[in-house]
C-alpha cells in the first residue's frame, strides 16, 4: 500500500455514517432501522481506527474493540425488544409505537 491521506479514510467514514443515518430516517420497520444503526456504528469504528493508525497508537484499535462490544450488547438488547414489540403490538412499524408522546 502506498501512502495515502488520512483524511480520505475519514471521509469514507463520514459517507458511511451519513448513509446509515439516511437509512434510519427513512425506514419504518424497526429491524431495518437497527440494521442502519449498525452501519453507522461501523462507520464510527472505522473513523477511530483510521485516527489511531494515523498517530501510530494502539488506542484507536482499542476504541474500536469497545465499540464492537457495545454494538454487540446493543444489538442483542435491541433485538430482544423487537421480539417483544412484535409479540405485544403485532406490528413492526415504528410509527405505531407512539405511546410516549406528550
Amino acid at each position: 500500500m502506498s501512502s495515502f491521506n488520512a483524511n480520505t479514510v475519514l471521509i469514507v467514514a463520514a459517507v458511511l455514517f451519513v448513509l446509515g443515518l439516511v437509512g434510519v430516517l427513512t425506514r419504518k420497520n424497526v429491524v431495518f432501522m437497527l440494521i442502519s444503526v449498525e452501519v453507522m456504528l461501523n462507520a464510527a469504528g472505522l473513523a477511530f481506527v483510521a485516527a489511531g493508525s494515523k498517530w501510530q497508537q494502539p488506542d484507536g484499535q482499542v476504541m474500536f474493540l469497545f465499540i464492537l462490544a457495545m454494538a454487540a450488547a446493543e444489538v442483542s438488547v435491541g433485538l430482544a425488544l423487537v421480539l417483544q414489540i412484535h409479540h405485544q403490538h403485532k406490528t413492526m412499524d415504528v410509527e405505531d409505537l407512539k405511546e410516549l408522546k406528550d
Binding site: 439516511v22 425506514r27 442502519s36 469504528g45 484499535q61 482499542v62 430482544a80 425488544l81 421480539l83
Partner: protein, 160 residues
C-alpha cells in the same frame, strides 16, 4: 445497498459485504487484529443474531410488500437533503485540516493487547459489565410470559 432493500435478508447480506469491505480497509490501515475482530464478531455474531430474529419473526413476503408501500421516492427526499448537508459540512471540516500523508505502519497486535490490558484495563472491565447487562437484559426482555387462559377464553393466536 443495505438501506434500500425491501427484503430484510437481502439487506443483511449486503451488510455482511459492507463489514467485509471495512475489514479490508482496516487491513490496509495496518490493523490486522481489528480487521479479523470485525469479521468474527461483527459479521459473525451480530449478523447471525439479526438473521435469527428475522427468521423467528418470519419477516418475508409480507414485510417486503409493506416496505414496498412505505418506501416511496418522496420519503427519501427530506432525510437525504438533511444528511447531504451534514455530509458536506463534515467534509468541509475534514478538508480544513492539514494535508497529511502517512506511511502505512503496521500496528502490532502485541502493542494493542499490551495497551488494552495496561492502560485500558478499567475500560475492559466496564465492557465486561456492559456485556453482562446486555445478556441479562436481552434474556429478560425476550422472555415470553406464558398466559394460561382457559380454552374457551383464548383469543388471538396461541402463544409460542
Amino acid at each position: 445497498m443495505v438501506i434500500t432493500r425491501y427484503r430484510p435478508i437481502h439487506a443483511l447480506l449486503y451488510l455482511v459485504v459492507s463489514f467485509l469491505a471495512v475489514a479490508m480497509i482496516f487491513l490496509s490501515l495496518g490493523a490486522p487484529f481489528v480487521a479479523v475482530l470485525e469479521i468474527i464478531i461483527y459479521a459473525g455474531a451480530i449478523i447471525v443474531l439479526f438473521i435469527f430474529v428475522v427468521m423467528m419473526l418470519n419477516l418475508g413476503k409480507d414485510t417486503a410488500l409493506q416496505e414496498k408501500e412505505w418506501l416511496q421516492p418522496k420519503v427519501w427526499l427530506v432525510p437525504s437533503l438533511l444528511s447531504l448537508v451534514l455530509l458536506v459540512e463534515m467534509v468541509v471540516l475534514l478538508l480544513k485540516g492539514s494535508e497529511f500523508s502517512m506511511q502505512v505502519p503496521v500496528v502490532d497486535p502485541r502493542k494493542v493487547s499490551l495497551s488494552l490490558y495496561g492502560q485500558y484495563i478499567i475500560a475492559v472491565e466496564l465492557a465486561g459489565f456492559l456485556l453482562m447487562a446486555g445478556i441479562v437484559g436481552a434474556a429478560h426482555i425476550g422472555k415470553h410470559t406464558k398466559r394460561n387462559l382457559h380454552r374457551f377464553l383464548q383469543e388471538g393466536e396461541p402463544e409460542k
